[in-house]
């Protein structure tokens, strides 16, 4: 078997092992005693470690196969981020032994890895600016820092679902449901993308880009077509409407279309689940979390920030500056990716300072953890795909 095949099989294995681990962590909510001796919890963490090792195997075999560390495009980076999230969870678990945290962190990791695999997965060569060991050093540390901060999000979400009063409607219940909806949209994106690429769906357009007629291909049925575009494949659904004029890039309209599919499919999934449950999603989960100790969860969420913040600073700002100085002759260039790393950093600095004062523990702190993760995801997804800059991988 070729090395690259072994590599992708190891990634598949890791993925399914994580799924199994989630089931076992899920089983721990029924344990009588939230205590440490839970059998399901032990199996859960063991599986997590095995899955992690399998993914480490994927990482290094791919490294050999591609002759550079596999952190050089969106698929590789995002997968690596998922792997670091699992590592961060294992580290935090080894301190606090909270099974329930696995039930929240691993699904995030699994979603992220599945999301990653929607992007081109071929082994690609490195352009000159990426040919440096600072690529590995910067990207891996930054991903680890973000991953630890993401554990703070998982704990924060757990805290909110556990603590928010579900007996009446409030801003809290609304935004919590909104978070749930975003999770479903991510899932929707993964399902829809895999389904259409499974069928090999393709539809082509001609549209003016920078004044020249250009061929554009969609891999999902076009709800929003390119602006002033003309359908050139026969027998395919015509777009319901055109993307707005200002979406000019070759891929802009297609990405917009994908976003619509994600949000719609998220709506369908969310709606279906709510119909079945006949309750807010968070309200349905809440009873399962009774045993979780809110004090400890609050502390874990904060602790993850205190551990992750220095690492994030080192990787995403300091190492990034060293690399930028070498590659582009300036350590800082106000490129969108850089600015969003700065925003993330400022946000968590604000978090840490607020946490020093009254009123910013518990619920407020948990919301901040959710907000921080939203910024990290924005930098990973929107800035890469929408606001492109030098760093744009895709």
């Amino acid at each position: 078997m070729e090395l690259s095949t072994i590599s992708s099989n190891l990634l598949y294995a890791a993925f399914f092992i994580y799924l199994a681990a989630i089931l076992f962590f899920g089983a721990t909510v029924k344990d009588k005693n939230s205590g440490k001796a839970s059998k399901a919890g032990k199996i859960g963490i063991t599986l997590t470690v095995i899955g992690f090792l399998s993914q480490v195997g994927y990482f290094f075999t791919r490294w050999v196969a591609s002759a550079h560390a596999p952190v050089s495009n969106l698929f590789e980076y995002t997968t690596f981020f998922g792997m670091m999230l699992v590592l961060a969870f294992i580290v935090i678990y080894s301190i606090y032994r909270l099974n329930i945290l696995g039930l929240f962190t691993l699904p995030v990791a699994v979603l992220i890895i599945a999301y990653a695999s929607m992007f081109p997965r071929e082994i690609s060569p490195l352009v000159p600016s990426l040919q440096t060991h600072w690529l590995y050093i910067h990207v891996t540390t930054a991903a680890l820092g973000q991953a630890i901060l993401a554990v703070s999000f998982a704990a924060g979400l757990l805290f909110l679902i556990r603590q928010i009063d579900q007996s009446q409607k409030s801003k809290h219940t609304f935004w919590l449901e909104f978070v749930m909806y975003i999770v479903f949209s991510t899932l929707g994106f993964i399902i829809v993308s895999s389904a259409f690429s499974g069928f090999g769906y393709q539809v082509a357009f001609q549209a003016p880009i920078e004044g020249e007629m250009t061929a554009i291909e969609y891999e999902m049925p076009a709800i929003a077509g390119p602006h002033d575009g003309e359908l050139t494949s026969s027998g395919k659904m015509a777009p319901w409407f055109d993307a707005p004029v200002w979406m000019r890039g070759v891929d802009a309209a297609q990405k917009f279309n994908t976003l619509i599919w994600s949000l719609l499919s998220g709506l369908v999934l969310y709606g279906a689940v709510r119909l079945i449950l006949r309750k807010r999603i968070a309200a349905s989960i809440q009873p399962w979390l009774k045993k979780a100790n809110p004090d400890i969860i609050d502390e874990v969420s904060y602790r993850a920030v205190t551990i992750g913040f220095p690492i994030f600073t080192l990787g995403a700002l300091i190492f990034a500056m060293i690399w930028a100085q070498q590659a582009w002759d300036r350590f800082w260039g106000w490129d969108p990716k850089e600015v969003w790393a700065l925003i993330t950093w400022l946000f968590y600095a604000a978090f840490l300072h607020l946490r020093l004062s009254r009123g910013w523990h518990g619920t407020n702190s948990a919301w901040l953890a959710v907000g921080g993760f939203a910024i990290i995801m924005f930098n990973l997804i929107a800035v890469n795909l929408v606001i492109s800059g030098l760093h744009s991988y895709a």
Binding site: A67, P120, E122, I123, S124, P125, V127, P128, S129, Q131, W134, R162, Q163, I164, D165, V245, W246, R248, Q286, K290, P294, D295, I296, Y302, R303, T306, I307, F309, P310, T313, I318, M321, Q325, Q326, A327, W328, D329, F331, G333, W334, D335, P336, V339, L342, I343, L346, F347, A350, H353, L354, L356, S357, G359, H361, G362, T363, N364, V383, I387, G389
Partner: protein
């Protein structure tokens, strides 16, 4: 002005102290109607030391000081800065729009009304705008003042603390409990084993560790300030140089901004792309379609000028180094760095023409070569033939029917020649360039044909000198040390207070209560002490809070 407060333990505290520096007794009177039970937990931030900002509020300076020392203000400044930073990423900054386009039309053109508003608000140059800089400066000021406001008194308090603590101090700690008796010898031993620093006074014990973690924020703030000052140094002229040079292959050029001291010769510019049949990357290369660059490189010689640079004389150059510049591998010498930033391929360097009879290419009257970077005005051929260059268009183009040159770079050279046959015959005019050869009269006896040409590449290199980098590096390093110091270590204290037939235990940490409880569990093992209860607990959604607490059911008592 200085109203010192003398505590019942005898320690003299500065005005504004909340908890006695030595014994921890709350120095502000107890609220009426509050018995000891309901009094909320002590606010342990800065250990209740007297901060200037909390003590004086009389003069304008006091007010400014108090404003900047507030964490609330600091957080607002940070939040405003991060929000502003977001706005700057909506559309590209001016430096990322295509070179040469006019921003006042570009933004409207590309992004419509939103783009126009963006431009008019100045968001296209946000990060160098005066107000963004002021925001950063305010954060810097705030950091300095807030740190001084707290550092000095906190230092005083932590230096003065005594093992013997006031009862009210003990009781109002977040971790507080009572045990019937204790084996203090074993306890001290076990505390020391857990790397606590143990002090004793009349049977009262203070076990403390990680105090240096308290200085973490101050260290990291110093790092930030050094970094910001380093960034400010860029505006000092000799600290920072940023220039650019184009060098053609074979050409030797003075490096700008080096005061004529250094020269560079471009030996060769190399552009490599990935082999599309490389089995490793085949699939991806096919997907991306087109060539993926693998290497941009300029092989160069750096010279140093040895004579005193008098104008007009040819420089006396000495080879400093023969080297290359690649992306990620700049050439470095004497504090300067040359970065491979840009290139142009296939510029013409020379063209060779032959003069022959119109209609008979074999009857050649001579051949001449024009060095395109230094064309002569006249070329003497055999048998008395001469060719004069009437006009030279390095980058020829027809504009409104008239020939013009788009630039001075020989990318598409064309000439208007005057051909002088031997004797006194009238010269003929002809036009020759790549792919065109025009006889304006259609009566010429001679024709100029291109026999050969040579091409070369041009390397674009940025020239940088940046003496601010060491300061930025230092600031970054100090920041990292400070932030790790404050985040990866915690200041943990355990107080043991014998009282009648009981032993009281209290504990405090600035972070990581879980870790402190674990420490206690292990240190108290077999000593008869039990780990105290946590007096601050978050209530679950279903349970109604018992005491009156703030809106999220948390009683506060950090730091």
């Amino acid at each position: 002005m200085n109203n010192k407060i003398t505590c019942e333990c005898g320690h003299v505290n500065p005005e504004g102290t909340e908890l006695c520096e030595a014994c921890g007794k709350p120095l502000t009177p107890q609220q009426p109607g509050q018995d000891n039970k309901n009094e909320s937990l002590l606010n342990m931030r800065y250990d209740g030391s007297a901060r200037r900002s909390q003590t004086y509020n009389r003069t304008v300076i006091d007010k400014i000081w108090n404003f900047f020392s507030s964490v609330k203000v600091g957080v607002w400044l940070i939040v405003i800065t991060l929000t502003a930073s977001m706005l700057g990423t909506i559309f590209p900054q001016e430096m990322y729009i295509p070179p040469g386009v006019n921003p006042s039309v570009h933004y409207e053109d590309q992004y419509g009304l939103a783009g126009q508003i963006y431009y008019q608000l100045g968001l296209h140059n946000l990060y160098s705008s005066w107000w963004y800089m002021i925001l950063i400066a305010l954060i810097g000021i705030s950091i300095v003042i807030a740190s001084i406001d707290r550092f000095v008194p906190l230092h005083r308090t932590l230096k003065n603390q005594k093992p013997k603590r006031h009862e009210r101090f003990m009781r109002k700690q977040r971790l507080f409990g009572k045990s019937p008796s204790a084996d203090t010898e074993l306890l001290k031993q076990q505390l020391k084993k857990r790397r606590f620093n143990v002090r004793e006074e009349d049977g009262h014990i203070l076990a403390e560790k990680g105090r240096f973690a308290r200085w973490g924020p101050y260290v990291n703030h110093i790092g930030l300030i050094i970094f910001l000052l380093g960034a400010l140094l860029r505006f000092v002229p000799f600290m920072y140089t940023d220039d650019f040079v184009w060098v053609r292959e074979g050409e030797t050029k003075v490096i700008p901004s080096t005061e004529g001291q250094y020269y560079i010769k471009n030996e060769d510019f190399i552009l490599e792309t990935y082999d599309e049949d490389d089995p490793r990357y085949k699939e991806a290369l096919q997907q991306q379609g087109g060539q993926v660059p693998k290497n941009y490189q300029t092989n160069a010689v750096i010279y140093e000028r040895k004579d005193d640079a008098t104008v007009g004389t040819d420089p006396e150059l000495e080879v400093l180094k023969e080297t290359h510049s690649k992306v990620n591998q700049p050439i470095k010498f004497d504090g300067y760095s040359l970065y491979q930033a840009s290139f142009q391929q296939n510029e013409f360097s020379s063209m060779t023409f032959n003069l022959h009879d119109t209609g008979n290419e074999d009857n050649v009257h001579g051949t001449f070569t024009i060095d395109l970077s230094d064309p002569q005005s006249e070329y003497e051929l055999e048998d008395g033939y001469r060719v004069v260059i009437n006009e030279y268009f390095p980058e020829y183009e027809l504009e409104d029917g008239a020939p013009v040159s788009k630039s001075k770079y020989p990318k598409n050279p064309a000439f208007v020649f005057e051909v002088h046959p031997p004797g006194d015959a009238e010269p003929e005019v002809s036009f020759a360039g790549i792919g065109r050869n025009i006889d304006p009269t259609n009566e010429n006896d001679y024709k100029l044909g291109i026999e050969d040409f040579e091409m070369r590449d041009v390397s674009g290199l940025t020239v940088k000198k940046d003496h601010t980098l060491p300061f930025l590096g230092l600031g970054g390093a100090i920041f990292m040390i400070g932030v790790m110091q404050g985040m990866y270590w915690n200041h943990r204290r355990i107080w043991i207070h014998p009282k009648d037939n009981e032993v009281w235990v209290a504990g405090h940490t600035n972070k990581n209560w879980y870790g402190l409880k674990k420490d206690m569990e292990r240190a108290f093992n077999d000593t008869g002490l039990s780990v105290p209860e946590d007096q601050q607990e978050i209530k679950a959604a279903s349970e109604k809070p018992r005491a009156k607490e703030d809106e999220h059911g948390v009683k506060h008592n950090q730091q």
